[in-house]
Amino acid sequence: MMQENSRSNVVAALIPRSNLQLARLCVITVVFGLLIFGALRYDNFLSSYNILSFLRYNSMFMLIALGMALVIMTGGIDLSVGGTAAMTSVVAATLSPYGWVAGLAGGMAAGLIVGIVNGLVVTRLRIQPFIATLAAMLATYGTALLLSGNQSVSVSYDTAFISIGQDDFLGFPIPAWIAIVCYIVGWIALERHPVGRRILAVGDGEATAKLMGLKVGRTLLGVYATSGLLAGLAGVILAAQFGAGQPTEGVGWELFAISSVVVGGTLLSGGVGSIGATLAGAILLAMVFNILNFENGLGVISLSAYWQSVIRGAFLLVVVILQAKLMNGRSQR
């Protein structure tokens, strides 16, 4: 037993300290690999236009991936983010005539409410997160359709609302600023604030966390509320960017978010995870789509946009298989 232990200590010192770090390293390597590939192959890949429009569009996805990462770190899941974003885009568009503050606050509040309801259903009623948020997903899509009468809801161009999605600040798209701020706050919360330790401890084992005297219910409520809030924010950006509340958008967003989190090395079982790698995961998956566009632009081959899902799926599968292999390797020591 001692021998085994000292051997594993040596091994642990040589390889990255955890699977997470290894996965993080992988995803960042792949992101840089794709960047170099794109830069060499396509003329305007690293042009400021491409980079800025990439960031402008994908900020929404980065935001929901952030919320999803926090939920998954606790061992849960939030399937309602796509529906929530659709619903809040309608809410924000409807409120946009009253000013950008009303649109922004209204959309975020609507998202927060969904998140709090999710959190309460999971913690108080002890419903499985999968089921609870599946119900919320259906409810939010339905609400989005009800509020909008199954039509896009045009935003008001009289107020500054559309700036949230379309304008720049210091030469950088506002949605990207929002995402950056949220990721910085998220990183500090997870890595430097006690709440982050609590989130990960809950994901490591709820019963254990309870026995350690941690406030498990409050932690879970917090992450679902945060996820809802960020989905609400994504919905606001969606409405502002496209000039309309989109009740039928958001389908499949939750899967994009989950994929980003998993590709970023966060285990679905909870307890480990990284904010930075989640961002890298989201960028990686989004870049697949971007590169596909460029590839078609070359005119050599013509791949339908549907291929992006196939390629993203392949990425996801490879990562999950790698994770499973690493996990086995660890548990057998």
Partner: protein, 498 residues
């Protein structure tokens, strides 16, 4: 007294689990708490720590009447619990685990430098010099345990509850743990020590509280009680009206069906040898944690053996999974009917034919006629009392549920049936019936390996008994030698320290 629990009653639904239980611990005292499975130890502890609430009785801690609403509340009051399965977050670092929930802060954020320094300081008290920034799961069990204790100590615990703390530790690790307990004792920290390893109790504890059937039956200074006395008090005497044994098969001299030699795996099963003859009931005795179920699981290939040999009919087995053991004619009726045995919502018929179902197929469809024939045969043969084969099994009494489980394996025509605590939770009358049934099956040539904690049961039913202690087969008793005194002294056997 630091802690005084008196007159504690607790029921779950209609089931009374604690009756007038009590527990007193003085400052700096190490109190052993022992009892059989189901004696009420863990319920009592959970009431103390606030995980359960008691129906009646009082708890006094540090001079004040208390009733903790949650484990967090009892921790805040100075009670820290170290569980058997170490309840910390394996993916978090050592330092984080010690301070989770009350991290030192600086400007609202975690002051990591101070947290790490504080963690090192407290671990150094226990002569532990480790990298506190590594995830807890990188360390061996004893170290993790020490971290759990360090967590308790930094919460200013006045009372440590150690629930089977040594079950996954080796000797050296146990020594380190004891050193830690002594260090804390010197500081006036008291401990409740739950363990089934008797020599450990004598090594570290000042007094012992013995529980049985939800009651506190004895409290004694460790030095005034012998091991045998301790075991006797713990197991109690409930000599039931079993039928006298008809030992048709003598003393186990018949042809051996199963031979186990120097079997070992992990720390639970260290060196076990036994034989099971054809048509014999072989008993497997020992205290909780002695390695009985673990040994059976190795024979059945539910777990992988690491050392030793298992032979069936003289040939060494190479089972990879229980399916191989089943194919070779083994059956296993597990200890916990509810978890590993019955499917409560399914009918008697479905439960009984669960294992044989693959053999009852005709072109992929269950042959109903054959199924019905089997079910009717065994309901009659075992005297299972049910309104019809379609009655949900959960409506049957414990004894009848057990018979259905026996039938599940018997219809496979096994050569060896392993029964783990076959009469647990069954009333006395039905117990005798189950034992009689096993005997008549043995008379027909079935070999039985019976794991039991009840001495009377072993004395009444087994042809020979192998006694395990701490993972070692320490004694084999046959026919007339199977007596309470012999079993007790063998079960209380401890290795002479080298």
């Amino acid at each position: 007294m630091l802690l005084s629990m008196t007159g504690i009653n607790k029921s779950f639904g209609d089931v009374r689990v604690l009756t007038d239980a009590s527990l007193q611990v003085g400052p700096g005292e190490v109190m052993a708490l022992i009892g059989q499975n189901g004696a009420g130890k863990s319920t009592l502890i959970k009431i103390l720590t606030g995980a359960y609430s008691h129906d009646a009785g009082s708890i006094e801690f540090q001079g004040a009447d208390v009733r903790f609403g949650s484990t967090a509340a009892s921790q805040a009051a100075g009670i820290a619990t170290i569980y058997q399965e170490i309840n910390l977050a394996p993916n978090r670092t050592v330092a984080e685990n010690i301070f989770l929930g009350r991290e030192p802060r600086r400007f609202g954020l975690v002051d990591r430098a101070r947290m790490q320094a504080d963690a090192r300081t407290v671990l150094r008290r226990f002569k532990l010099d480790i990298d506190v920034n590594r995830p807890l799961q990188d360390f061996e069990a004893a170290t993790r345990q020490m971290v759990a204790i360090a967590r308790g100590v930094t919460q200013n615990a006045r009372l440590l509850i150690l629930d089977e703390p040594t079950s996954s530790l080796d000797e050296r690790e146990v020594a380190v743990l004891f050193e830690t307990i002594r260090t804390l004792k010197a500081d006036g920290v008291a401990a409740i020590f739950i363990s089934h390893r008797l020599d450990e109790l004598f090594a570290i504890c000042d007094r012992v509280t013995i529980m049985r059937d939800g009651r506190t039956v004895a409290v004694s200074p460790m030095k005034d009680i012998s091991k045998v006395e301790l075991v006797r008090t713990m197991l109690g005497k409930e000599l039931a009206a079993f039928t006298a044994k008809k030992r048709a098969h003598g003393d186990g001299e018949g042809a051996a069906l199963v031979g186990v030699e120097n079997l070992g795996a992990g720390v639970r099963v260290r060196d076990v040898s036994l034989t099971i003859g054809k048509g014999e009931i072989a008993g497997l005795a020992g205290l909780l944690g002695a390695g009985r179920t673990e040994t059976a699981r190795l024979i059945y290939a539910a777990d992988r053996k690491e050392r030793g040999a298992i032979t069936v009919d003289g040939r060494e087995t190479n089972y990879v999974a229980p399916a191989d053991a089943i194919a070779d004619g083994m059956g296993f009726v597990s200890e916990d009917r509810k978890i590993e045995g019955i499917v409560p919502e399914m009918s008697v018929r479905e439960n009984m034919t669960l294992a044989i179902l693959p053999k009852l197929q005709k072109a992929g469809i269950v042959d109903k006629a054959a199924q019905r024939a089997i079910v009717e045969k065994y309901i009659a043969a075992l005297g299972i009392k049910c309104s019809s084969p379609e009655q949900p099994i959960r409506e049957l009494s414990g004894g009848n549920q057990q018979k259905v489980l026996l039938a599940r394996w018997l219809c496979m025509n096994p050569r060896l049936l392993i029964v783990d605590e076959p009469t647990r939770g069954i009333d006395v009358g039905a117990k005798a019936e189950i034992l009689k049934l096993l005997r008549s099956l043995a008379d027909e040539g079935l070999s039985v390996l019976m794991i039991s904690s009840e001495l009377e049961e072993l004395i009444a039913a087994a042809d020979h008994v192998t006694v395990l202690s701490d993972g070692l087969s320490v004694r084999r008793l046959a026919s007339e030698d199977i007596t309470e005194a012999n079993l007790l002294s063998a079960m209380a056997y401890q290795e002479v320290p080298a």
